[in-house]
Amino acid sequence: MAEGELVGQRVVRIDSRAKATGEARYTADLTLPRMLHAKVLRSPHAHARILNIDTSKAERLPGVKAVVTGKDAAGVKWGVFRYTRDQELLPAEKVRYVGEDVAAVAALDEETALEALSLIDVEYDVLPAVFDPLEAMQEGAPQIHDHVENNVNIHVPIEVGDVDRAFQEAYLVREDRFSDTEYTYCQTEPYAVLVNYDSNGNLEIWTPNASPHTKAKALSNLLKMPLAKVKVRKISTGGAFGGRSDIFPGEFIAALLAIKAGRPVKMVYTREESFTSVRQAHSMVVDLKTGVTEDGRFLANEMKVVLDGGAYSSTGPIAVSVPFLVWEETYRLHNVRFNGYRVFTNKPVRGMYRCHGRSFMGGLGMQLDMIAEELSIDPAEIRLRNALRTGETQVTGSRIISCGLTEAIEKATETSGWKEKRGKLPYSRGIGMGASGMMVGFPMGIRGGSAALLKFNEDGGCTLISGVVDNGQGNESMVVQIAADVLGMKMEDINLVSSDSEITPLDQGAYSQASTFVSGNAARGAAVDAREQILNIASDMLDATPGELDLKDGQVFVKHRPEWNVWLGKVIRKALLDNTPVVGRGSYMPKVDLRREWVSNPKGQHAGTFSFGAVVAEVEVDTETGQVRVTNVTGAHDCGFAINPMAVEGQLEGSVASGGVGASLLEEHSWDGGQMLNATMLEYKVPLSVDMPQITPIIVETVDPEGPFGAKEAGLAGSMNMFQAVGNAIYDALGVWIKEFPITPDKVLQALEEKDPES
């Protein structure tokens, strides 16, 4: 195969066999000699001062080897940004949500640890609590953090152009309020962590994660240990969806226990703990004002969004910005005003989920349909008129180097039979669309790039060493496929070593859809470098210039005389004897404006490139029960170039399920104050296989000038667009707009009753 022949093929992923047979190991599967089991005592109060913790009885229980409280945590605070460090991972003075960590025990077995928890006496002074972000912003609301007035955690203001004048000039102005509840990730694998600490001060950590390097750096800061001593090891991760990205109390507490006990400590969360005490996604209320020209082009866009951030900052500045970013990455905007607020409440901590609720798109995707209707423009057409194209610059300054949005909209409408169906289906059946752009990476400073190494063995096989992280997306297989393509090898002849913070070079991690674009580029660079070294050495052996040579199936040969060839192993051996061992090296840093900052400077090139997608959904509504069934989804995604089309389609289908069908129709938390009523897989309604629609994935290829073989990202078109598509399809079916997500049957019925009180 020549370069470019293996990429683009539908190949079986390298991790499929182990995952399918159950051979893949997850954190909870691991056992180390002398390992202890840990459990955490959690706050039953939403807001309370800790007056005293008495652990003496627990410490005396036979089998208990270590007990830690906030006193052992030395008051260190975690926050993703320097200016958001407000979370004590094991608080000493105050708890701020039900389920927050208060103390922890490591014991010989889990039963003993649980028994020990029941022997810990905590004295609380219960404080007034607040659970609604709009209430929390009012004067006189309980103050959750001493330094934060009105509980406003983050405020991101963005203004470009003359918004007020543009509204005056607009032909039509619409104002709507949309809202969306918070979600939980419900990854198949509950949170788990294993920590080993040795007498030389080495700390090893296994935990499902989206970036071993980020975890290692944070823990080295929090525990005041050199980075080289903190080693986050590779482990299979049973799903992430954004929920493995931050630093959590679990790994910090397990480390404190392991250090204190001098023994390995494993802690496996229950499903309930995974719901309440790791991360949830933000809920939000959005006020959206949009002004357009007579032909439906955006003139002025104004948005105020209030996010319920829960008790701590987490990824706050990113979360607040994202509802804005998703517009500017999709449509040609001119005059914009954005005010995003993330507000503290006494609820579990909110973090990123499928790129921070971008799927909801702040309601713009539904309001656009409302505007289209008022102007008698087809919803697909109004999107095409406003859609960004290659070479354009977004309103805060990001240039788009490849854009398949127009093609995605056109293909999704054509394949789904949009023209024949929209507005023409019988009552109770409808069709709707959604479109969006998405950033591929974002400025992460020194952590924004990736590097890879590739070393050859004397038998011609090789090992690729990459920081790439795979949470189930297929990233590991992706880098191997790329390297195999460049080197003319079979994928099974390349061994991959990845996602170990000690062994593999720095990588941005499985964040922000960047793995293919950044890690894939680095892997390709390493393979290209190794290939050049091999051809150089072989050129002496074959008496030809490197340019005349090719490498394929373990043979280096002269392109015009293939019978003049040499075995790759022989080339590697010669390189070793010549003291020039073949080690390929590659790296990639996306071309972003590093001065860009979420709050203080939201302008400049935000991501190296952007990908785009459009989704058409068809629904059937039972107008007596209000139940909505999504029957068909056609999703077209501009992934730049599909390295493994099967994996791209799988990602699209997965994103219709996770964050798509379920999040738009079913998934929501029930609360009584700060206590979650449905923190179980039975009562939190993740869609089941029987609830899934027929999905038709369409791959759009724009061959990005920067991406490896032109590839960008492949994960988000489904989840980002399902909300709009479903909301719009319900309107097409019933003639009612439901602006509060999720669109549960009772809301549908209520909307129908309001429309026709006689019914």
């Binding site: 959690r42 039953p44 109060h45 039900v98 889990e110 039963e111 649980l114 229950t270 309930e272 007596e624 029960t625 209000g626 139940q627 079913l666 029930s670 009584d672 206590q675 009523l677 449905n678 923190a679 179980t680 039975l682 009562e683 309604k685 869609p687 089941l688 029987v690 609830d691 549960t744 049957p745 009772d746 019925l749």
Partner: protein, 328 residues
């Protein structure tokens, strides 16, 4: 979550099982499929010192035809029940309801008596010990209050079984045995509606079998279930209707039973009065559905809003009656 410790008893016969129950009384719990019991034990809701496992009591695992009716052994798996030809052909509403219980893997584990004896459920009850310790004990856990309706005078935990309404509408009875005695009660009488003790079952008693009388001439039934997902979920509301049509097209017998909208299954007597002896018209069905709506008493404690679920009783009942009537 961990199971509390217990002693596992494995009787080989019904007699031996009854002996264990007589000996250990309240300290013992019967386990069959375990699909509900083990979850409750992990949540710390039950901590029996003894589990009497009936899996080896084969004499309770049977389905047989008897005088035109059915005898269903307590240990019959729900999947077996819905696959048995006599059930499918002669009492299809039972198979229909059994196939809607949870999901296929749970139907393969869960038993008929286990499903009938389902404990009542509530968002404030079916929770871990940690979760529940954040508030005081409620009526169902031996406390003095209801968390669902503040100031409420009684437990509102909801009965959410699927097969009970269908069997009640068919007029099923239960044969219950204890050491040295045995009794037969109408299935509907199994349910007390009381939070602490939702089943009229003595601690030393076992539900041995369900008896379904022979079908009436021209009989057909239907079960309608409201759930948010296409599988797995307990009903948010459910309605079973069994109707018989005589030779002149008149409804000679009608039974409507509801589930998941009260503390036990509800029999809608008024529907019987409205429909029996009448030509079944859309209007009459609407009246019967309205009667079901009036009878339903859902609480906001098992997901979805209670007023929405109550409205759905009207829809489900109408659909169940019409389907049953049209099937015949």
């Amino acid at each position: 979550m961990r199971l509390p410790s217990f002693e596992h008893l494995e009787p080989r016969s019904l007699e031996e099982a009854l002996g264990f129950l007589a000996k250990h009384k309240e300290q013992a719990k019967i386990i069959a499929g375990g699909t509900e019991l083990l979850v409750c034990m992990k949540h710390g809701l039950l901590a029996p010192a003894y589990l009497v496992n009936l899996k080896a009591v084969r004499e309770l695992d049977f389905v047989s035809e008897d005088d035109g009716g059915l005898r269903i052994g307590a240990l019959t798996r729900l999947s077996t029940l819905s696959e048995t030809p006599a059930v499918r052909e002669r009492f299809p509403v039972v198979a229909q309801a059994a196939e809607m219980v949870a999901a296929p893997p749970l139907q393969a584990m869960g038993t008929v008596a286990g499903n009938l004896c389902l404990n009542t459920r509530c968002f404030y009850y079916n929770q871990s010990s940690f979760w529940r310790q954040a508030r005081g004990a409620c009526y169902k856990t031996g406390g003095d209050r209801c968390h669902v309706v503040k100031g409420g005078k009684r437990c509102l935990a909801t009965y959410q079984g699927d097969i009970a309404p269908a069997l009640i509408a068919l007029g099923a009875t239960l044969r219950m045995v204890s050491n040295g005695s045995e009794r037969e009660i109408p299935l509907a009488e199994l349910y007390t509606g009381k939070g602490r003790r939702p089943l009229a079952l003595e601690p030393d008693e076992i539900v041995a079998e369900v008896r379904v009388p022979a079908p009436f001439d021209g009989m057909a039934g239907d079960y309608q279930k409201l759930r948010l997902r296409g599988s797995m979920d307990f009903p948010l509301a459910g309605a079973a209707a069994v109707l018989s049509r005589n030779g002149s097209g008149v409804c000679s017998r009608a039974r409507v039973a509801l589930t998941a909208v009260g503390t036990g299954p509800l029999v809608v007597e008024e529907a019987t009065q409205l429909l029996e002896g009448q030509q079944v018209t859309e209007d009459l069905v609407a009246q019967a559905a309205e009667a079901a709506y009036e009878a339903a008493r859902p609480a906001s404690n098992v997901g979805s809003d209670a007023s929405y679920r109550r409205k759905m009783v009207r829809v489900l009942t109408r659909r169940a009656i019409l389907n049953a009537w049209r099937k015949e």
